[in-house]
C-alpha cells in the first residue's frame, strides 16, 4: 500500500489521475474501518487532510459552499442556522469523536444508503463539486447516487466541495435507531420547505439501494398545503404524505431492521416531519437569519 500526501489541491488531482485506484481519505471514519477489519485493502491512500483550502466554507449567493474537509462538528457549530436540515443530520452522526473527524464529502464518497447527510442534501437540492485534471463539474445530488455504495464520480475525480442552498424555510431530519448515539440509521427522512417556490423537498435514507427523493409525496404536499392562508395542517394530508414517502422506498430486511418495519417507520417519520415543518412555517420562522456569518476555516 502507498500513502500519498498531496500538499495542494492541484497535486491531489495529479496524484488521483496517476493512481485512479487510490482511495481518498479525509476523517477516516469509513476508510480506516475497512482497513482495520480487513474488509478491504486499498492500493493506496490519498490523504486530503493536509490541503488547507478544503477545510473552509463560504457563503456564495444563495448557497453555502462546504469544503470537503469541513467536519460535522464544525458544520453543527457554524452552520446550524443556514443549513438546519444538514446540521440536524450531522448531530446524529456517530459520537463526538466521529463528528470531530467525519465530513459530508466523506459521506458522499462512501455513498452508503444509510449515510446521514444524504436525506437533507436531497431535500434541499445540493450540488456536488467534482474535479479532476480534466476539469471541474457540478453533479446535482439527485444524479450522484448510482447504487449501493456507488456514486457518479469518475475514477480520477475528487470531491472538492458540496454546494448546499441556504434554507428558505423550515427543515427537519429524523432517524430511527436503537439509541441516540452511534447509530447507523434503520431508516431516515428529511424534509425542506422551499416556501418562496411553494415546493417541498424530501430525502429518504437507508430504505432503498440509494438515498432517494419521494417525488410523488413532494408534489402531493406542494399542491395540498395552504401556502397562502397558512392554515393548520390537515391530518389527512399529513397521513397521505407519509404513505407516499413510504411508497417511494424499496427497503430490504437486514440486521438493522425488517423491510416492513422500515416502511411503517418511514410513514411515521415523514408525517411527523411535515407537521413540525408546517408548524414552523405557520409561525413564520425566518430560516436565514444570518447568524452563521459568511465564511469559516480551520
Amino acid at each position: 500500500m502507498d500513502f500519498l500526501r498531496p500538499r495542494t489541491w492541484a497535486e491531489a488531482l495529479d496524484l488521483k489521475a496517476g493512481r485512479p485506484e487510490a482511495t481518498p481519505i479525509q476523517g477516516g471514519t469509513d476508510v480506516m474501518v475497512e482497513i482495520n477489519l480487513d474488509k478491504g485493502r486499498p492500493a493506496a491512500l490519498l490523504d486530503l487532510t493536509p490541503i488547507p483550502g478544503l477545510r473552509e466554507w463560504s457563503r456564495e449567493g444563495d448557497v453555502v459552499r462546504l469544503g470537503a474537509g469541513v467536519t460535522y462538528a464544525r458544520l453543527i457549530g457554524e452552520l446550524g442556522t443556514r443549513l438546519p436540515g444538514l446540521a440536524q443530520a450531522s448531530r446524529t452522526v456517530g459520537s463526538p469523536q466521529i463528528r470531530n473527524r467525519g465530513t459530508v464529502a466523506g459521506n458522499l464518497g462512501a455513498a452508503s444508503p444509510a449515510g446521514d447527510s444524504h436525506p437533507p442534501l436531497l431535500a434541499c437540492g445540493a450540488v456536488v463539486e467534482a474535479e479532476s485534471v480534466r476539469g471541474a463539474r457540478l453533479i446535482p445530488i439527485g444524479e450522484f447516487y448510482t447504487g449501493v455504495k456507488r456514486n457518479a464520480l469518475a475514477p480520477d475525480e475528487l470531491i472538492r466541495a458540496v454546494r448546499v442552498p441556504v434554507a428558505r424555510g423550515p427543515q427537519y431530519f429524523s432517524k430511527i435507531g436503537t439509541r441516540n448515539a452511534m447509530v447507523i440509521a434503520v431508516c431516515s427522512f428529511s424534509i425542506a420547505l422551499h416556501a418562496a417556490e411553494r415546493r417541498v423537498g424530501t430525502g429518504v435514507g437507508s430504505a432503498a439501494p440509494t438515498p432517494r427523493r419521494a417525488v410523488a409525496a413532494e408534489e402531493f404536499a406542494a399542491a395540498r398545503l395552504d401556502w397562502q392562508g397558512r392554515s393548520p395542517l390537515d391530518p389527512e394530508v399529513a397521513r397521505r404524505f407519509g404513505e407516499l414517502v413510504a411508497g417511494a422506498a424499496a427497503p430490504i430486511d437486514d440486521v438493522r431492521g425488517r423491510a416492513a418495519y422500515r416502511t411503517h417507520a418511514l410513514a411515521v417519520l415523514a408525517r411527523r416531519a411535515l407537521g413540525w415543518a408546517w408548524a414552523d412555517f405557520r409561525a413564520d420562522s425566518g430560516a436565514d437569519s444570518g447568524a452563521d456569518g459568511d465564511r469559516g476555516s480551520a
Binding site: 491512500l45 459520537s95 469523536q97
Partner: protein, 189 residues
C-alpha cells in the same frame, strides 16, 4: 514509512510504519504508549480516544500518515508533568512539564500522585472496574471539562460520553466522576 509527530509534548518519530496502519497502533506498538486501548477498531467504543491537535478523536480511525507533523496527547500526557493538550490545557493551569520528565513516559506512580483531577476523580468515584474503557473516558471527559464552565449538566455529560462504551460499571459512577472532577477543577465561588 517514517511518521514524525509530537506526542505528549515531545517530538518523536515512528519507523517502519505500514501505510495502512492506524495512529493507535503507532502509539501502542511503536511508541510504547499503551494508555489508549485497542478494542473495536471501528470508532464505536471510544477506548482509543486521544487528542489530535487539541481535538478528541478515535486514534484507531486516524491513518498513521495523517498524524505526520501533528500534535497528539494521550491519556499518559494528562497527568502532572505530561503536556496539556493544546487549546485545552490552559483551563487546568498545571504549568510546564518539570525538567527531565518526558511526555512519553508514565509520570504518575501507583500512589496516584500526579494524576490529573479527572483521573483522580475516576478513582475516587469508583468509576473504574476492568479499566479498559477508562483511558478513553478520561480523555473525553477532560475535553468536555475544558470546554464548559462549572459542572456540566447530566445531559451534556451523557452527550459528550456517548461514543465511549463501558461494559462493567454501568455509567452512573462515570457520571459521578465527571461531576466530581468538574467540582474540583472549579470550586463554587
Amino acid at each position: 514509512m517514517r511518521v514524525n509527530l509530537t506526542v505528549n509534548g515531545r517530538a518523536t518519530a515512528a519507523d517502519d510504519v505500514w501505510e495502512g496502519e492506524s495512529l493507535l497502533y503507532v502509539l501502542r506498538e511503536r511508541l510504547g504508549l499503551p494508555g489508549a486501548k485497542n478494542a473495536c477498531e471501528q470508532g464505536e467504543c471510544g477506548s482509543c480516544t486521544v487528542y489530535l491537535d487539541g481535538t478528541p478523536v478515535c486514534a484507531c480511525l486516524v491513518a498513521a500518515g495523517q498524524a505526520e507533523g501533528r500534535e497528539v496527547v494521550t491519556v499518559e500526557g494528562l497527568s502532572r508533568g505530561g503536556a496539556p493538550p493544546s487549546g485545552a490545557g490552559s483551563a487546568y493551569g498545571d504549568g510546564p512539564a518539570p525538567a527531565g520528565v518526558s511526555g512519553g513516559s508514565r509520570t504518575a506512580d501507583d500512589s496516584g500522585e500526579g494524576l490529573h483531577e479527572v483521573q483522580q476523580a475516576f478513582l475516587d468515584a469508583g468509576a473504574v472496574q476492568c479499566g479498559f474503557c477508562t483511558p478513553g473516558l478520561v480523555v473525553q471527559a477532560h475535553a468536555l471539562l475544558a470546554e464548559v464552565d462549572g459542572v456540566p449538566a447530566d445531559a451534556d455529560i451523557r452527550e459528550a460520553l456517548a461514543g465511549n462504551l463501558c461494559r462493567c460499571t454501568g455509567y452512573e459512577k462515570i457520571l459521578d466522576a465527571v461531576r466530581l472532577a468538574a467540582a474540583r477543577l472549579r470550586p463554587p465561588p
